[in-house]
């Protein structure tokens, strides 16, 4: 197990290096940071000087080299736009994103799994048809439109919930949480729903499909033949077996929750790393963009690792490395 984790860590470092490398390769083309950095009346000489000082006149691999060297020491440089250390910026913004991602992942998982089970157990019911089709409407719309629509209905018209931001936050160590205040929780509702819709649909459909498959397996039939109760069969046997594939996909999807958060955070002015990234793209704030991408890669790598470990826990066949005859 330890060897496995060690191996995965090596892999992770490679993945992150590649991500950083590609990021650097690409950044040269997303625009000129100086356009945002220098004032309207800066002269050509100022541009040249600034370019040289930022090292932007160097070939990208040299820039990449320095980036890696500094990143290894936890240094991601100074944000061009906000003039603060990038690592500090990201750490400051991280709690917001994590709380949002966590909240929407919870919504997606709980409702996704429940609805998935429901629709699988009643494959021919009318309500199932409604849920299945309705869930598609949710993913047929771009996230930004759903967000704006929710704001319009719940904040502007009904005035039930706040339209933007995190509300009041409480500082616990370096972690700034919105989960402990009422306004913080209220602010979380709309963005969390917006962000979870897509994942919810996906998880629901996945659970349903897997559950339908599992319900047809011999061991479920045999469990019936053994005289077990419906409850024990549906929740004890079918659900647990459904979870194995669901965990993998869900894990990956959780990663994309963070990615999708870019849009949601922008629409709801959620002060997380996603909106930081979008604003940085607009200003070609290369240090922030690079650090963000490496961070996202890290998140994926960690999630993948957790997923694999969960796999081991859930599925005994993998635990002792036995080869299955499947």
């Amino acid at each position: 197990m330890l060897a496995f984790i060690a191996r995965r860590l090596v892999q992770s470092v490679i993945v992150m290096l590649v991500v950083a490398f590609i990021a650097f390769l690409v950044f040269r083309y997303v625009g000129d940071p100086l356009a945002a950095l220098l004032s309207q009346d800066a002269k050509q000489a100022d541009y040249d000087a600034a370019r040289e000082r930022l090292g932007l006149d160097q070939p990208f691999y040299v820039q990449f080299y320095y980036f890696v060297i500094n990143a290894l020491q936890g240094q991601f440089g100074i944000s061009y736009r906000l003039q603060q250390p990038v690592s500090q910026l990201i750490l400051e913004r991280l709690p917001a994103t994590i709380e949002l991602a966590f909240a929407s992942a919870t919504i997606a998982l709980v409702f996704g799994v429940l609805l998935g089970i429901y629709t699988a157990l009643r494959p021919r019911a009318f309500s199932t048809g409604v849920i299945m089709t309705g869930s598609l409407v949710g993913v047929s719309l771009p996230t930004f439109l759903i967000g704006i629509g929710l704001i319009y209905v719940f904040a502007v018209e009904l005035k039930w919930l706040p339209s933007f931001g995190r509300g009041e936050v409480v500082q616990i160590g370096w972690w700034r949480t919105g989960l402990l205040t009422q306004s913080g929780l209220r602010s979380l509702v709309l963005p969390a729903i917006t962000l979870s819709l897509f994942q919810l649909t996906l998880i629901m459909r996945l659970v349903r499909a897997e559950m339908l498959e599992v319900l047809r397996t011999d061991y479920i039939r045999f469990a019936r033949a053994r005289g077990l109760s419906q409850r024990a069969i549906n929740f004890g046997h079918a659900l647990r077996n459904t979870m194995v594939p669901v965990i993998t996909i869900t894990g990956l999807q959780l990663g994309s929750v963070i990615a999708f958060a870019i849009i949601t955070e922008t629409v709801f002015q959620w002060p997380g790393v996603g909106s930081l990234f979008v604003n940085s793209v607009a200003a070609v704030d290369v240090p922030v963009m690079a650090a963000y991408l490496v961070f996202v890669a890290l998140v994926f790598v960690v999630i993948n690792l957790i997923v694999d470990i969960l796999y081991f826990i859930v599925d005994p066949r993998l635990r002792d490395g036995a080869r299955t005859g499947k």
Binding site: R240, N241, A322
Partner: protein, 546 residues
Amino acid sequence: MTEPVLSIKDLVVEFPFRDDVFRAVNGVSFDIMPGEVVGVVGESGAGKSMTGSAVIGLIERPGHIAGGEIRLKGERIDNLPEEAKAKLRGKRIGMVFQDPLTSLNPLYTVGEQLVETIRTHLPLNEAQARQKAIDLLTEAGIPKAAERIDSYPHQFSGGMRQRVVIALAIAAEPELIIADEPTSALDVSVQAQIIKVLKKLCSSHGAAVMLITHDMGVIAQTADRMVVMHHGKVVETGTVGDIIRRPREAYTIKLIQSIPTILRQEHAATPAEAANDDGAYVQVKNLVRDFEIGKGSFTKLLPGKTEIFRAVNDVSFSISKGETFGLVGESGSGKSTCAKMIVGLLRPTSGQIIVDGHDIWAGGKGHQERRKRVQMIFQDPYASLNPRWRVADIIAEPMRTLGIARNRSEVDDRVAELLRRVRLDPSVMRKFPHEFSGGQRQRIAIARALSSQPEFIVCDEPTSALDVSVQAQVLDLMSELQSEFGLTYLLISHNLAVVRQMSNAVGVLHNGVLVEKGPTDAIFDNPQADYTRMLLDAVPDISKVA
């Protein structure tokens, strides 16, 4: 007269399809008395399993019972509501499904599944239930049950799993046990143990057993009475001895005749000449194959030690031209691995294979020669035919690839000719594989193998996917072709009867080692190795009917 445990009258099971209705079971009636084992036989698709499912009330949708009645100890059960039916299951009717490998939930330990079942039916606490579970496992023949109870299903062998399934089925001491092909997935040695367990249970608990199988040998050894089914109907019932010795219906007669026996038969192949290994057409010399295990694809990039498993260990034999060499052995003994190396699909770790004087793994010429001369017939005829290709294309592929025939009409002519050879109408050329029956598919596979005009054909379990009557047709065809073209066969099978009928010489593989080889009769009548003897003793055979 005692009341039958199970009484089925005019049972009809229907599957509504599109526009018409398919009757899987069409008016079946029979009874089972307490303590009695009734065997249900019939070819694949005859409706045996469906009858069993109907009794326990687990017919898959959209199938349903459309007529007749089922009584358990006189009480009608087919029209009970679902909850009431659920109460019967496990408690009064135990069921063993066809495939032991998939009947157990892989995520729970054997013990958990047993305890769960026991506590559902009996008022026991956790500890008592566990004790009961251990007792049941011991009874079902699992050695050291107390130690093994916390293992997961995948940690058990197939035979052990089958025994666990039986333990589960009898946990609540049901009055009726339905065993659906409890042994078909197992090799002979394990099969014998399972049959023993079932019989013992029947006598000690006084339960009635409905034993579904297509293996007449098993019936002959286990059952008191038998029911023969054909196309959803019962064609004959009676005591086992009566039916085997005096079958009345044409279908039963055909069924019994097509069962190969392990005993020597008049029309069996002639024994091999004293083998002169060096001059033989096919020579297999000191074949070894190792597999690396326990490594994923990524880890292969990293240095580290690998575990090695030797699947084939120093196997040598030879086959003279025009003869058949049978290779037998239990599952996992390395038969298929040998076959793959011989046809060139798997590179041997060491050793040589020489066909007609060419080393087929030497590359260059040997390679080229091999493609033309060596062909293979695979275990599962359906899997060996590309489901998206038409029969004509499948059969023509070897000709096209090897350049035997190129222009269209020539290819078509040859395909038609080959189809005729395997007794199929050339008009089937435009069909797809799924439009054929199992036996026809195997014929197509044989036609494909003949297409490159080979001299040597390796047959890896050519009939194990087929039921007995079809198996007989295919074996006959193979013999005919052999005499017609002078083909040489390597016949791999775990069915000893088939091997006995077909081959001139036999080799016995055990854990990758060739423990014994020699002329067929010598091996079968006078086995030398312990393993061979064990294998032969375990074979059930209808001729053993008292």
